[in-house]
Symmetry: C2
Amino acid sequence: MHARLNALSVPALREACSQCNLRELCLPVGLSDRELGQLDELVNLRRRILRGQHLYRGNDPFEAIYAIKTGFFKTDVLLEDGREQVTGFQMAGEILGLDGIGSEKHTCNAVALEDSEVCVIPFTDLENYSREIGALQHHFHKVMSREIVRDHGVMMLLGIMRAEERLAAFLLNLSQRFTARGYSPTEFNLRMTRNEIGSYLGLKLETVSRAFSRFQEEGLITVHQKHIQILDVAGLKKLLSERRA
Amino acid sequence: MHARLNALSVPALREACSQCNLRELCLPVGLSDRELGQLDELVNLRRRILRGQHLYRGNDPFEAIYAIKTGFFKTDVLLEDGREQVTGFQMAGEILGLDGIGSEKHTCNAVALEDSEVCVIPFTDLENYSREIGALQHHFHKVMSREIVRDHGVMMLLGIMRAEERLAAFLLNLSQRFTARGYSPTEFNLRMTRNEIGSYLGLKLETVSRAFSRFQEEGLITVHQKHIQILDVAGLKKLLSERRA
DNA sequence: TGTCTACGTTGACACAGATCAAAGCTCCTG
DNA sequence: CAGGAGCTTTGATCTGTGTCAACGTAGACA
């Protein structure tokens, strides 16, 4: 089930957390230089996941959480009958695997949407280190809490928003996360299919496609396949706040 | 904003965690007797919340998490335009407030649906104690992780299930949680209105009402106002698994 | 005991989004 | 560079749930 780890995927200690340009977004936030050095010991293994491969699957034993170094993932849950619910899309600096702590098994699938690399953080070690490093403990708690808050946002989206509101929220959220990583807020390539967007947003792929077309007609964005350009951020935001009574 | 704490709401040290009959469901799971004693020091304050009152509101500063000693709560998020998304219903032994860790402010509202009592767990203290007590640290992580997994379940519900599937899943979930607390799996009183159920399930109250009526016609349950009796658990489960292609 | 208010049920109808179907675009592979 | 697979777009139609409206029920309170 696990991808074989070859020698190349373990460059270890090279470019550890203390050197990583994601350290302001990722687990090390708020650590002192000395503490960062300790984290380098904890996170000394990397794993490369090719596009389409699983980082883990539902029911795999839970051993580690993963920080995305490069690339892009989706997480999803499957129903027996084949229905899929995408529970999130994750990008560099974000943490995968938190779902597994509670039951010691993973409860969803994590699939790379492009060739990716993750830092492996053995969970027992993380707990041990957090008992030493208060700042690490606290930040880890924040990461989990934010995941809960993010999930509430998705519930909101699924529970009370209409199709175009959902898609606008989705685009704005991506834009904001790309910005935080130093990319353009207004121009990016989607890594996921219309079907995956639809699954995440509780819509069918045709509805997603139509909403994209509609946004384009209205001059809010341009779409060419997976390439998106946001022309009118304010317009998208307006879609979210205005609501016919 | 905070309810005033009167003398009666602080019986402290009496019936602490070590004596509490919820200790197998709540935060103390997996602690040794000695560790339980330590927890008694951490959790020494109770707060009484009357029906309809808020335990906390979105934007309140985050200081503590809460274990429900008795009673029943809902958590919700409000949009500016008044739309409400109920994000969960919580009962005895469950933990409230985890949403606030990430931003040091609460991000949702917690409202008592019946007169309730919660144990106040100051969060800084909890972090300090978890650095001492590995089992507490680990169990706390499990609690947070399970909240994430629960949220994924709700996304699934909202994203891909039809109205009757949602309601069946909701009833079965309540039944299972009541069972874990020693109540009847098949007969209970709903603490929430049809509107609140609808908000949680992403449906309108009329749809919830109709689904209840339908279940009753089909002999799956009886409904009289808030009183529910499940007549055919297997039938409800079948609703969830069977799905016209 | 009567009335008020909040909550729940039911019916008729409307509509957003699903479903079904056909065709176009891109990129990969041989 | 031909063929095919996977993805996307668009149109036509269908349907589950929302919306609107009327009425019913139960508990609270004067």
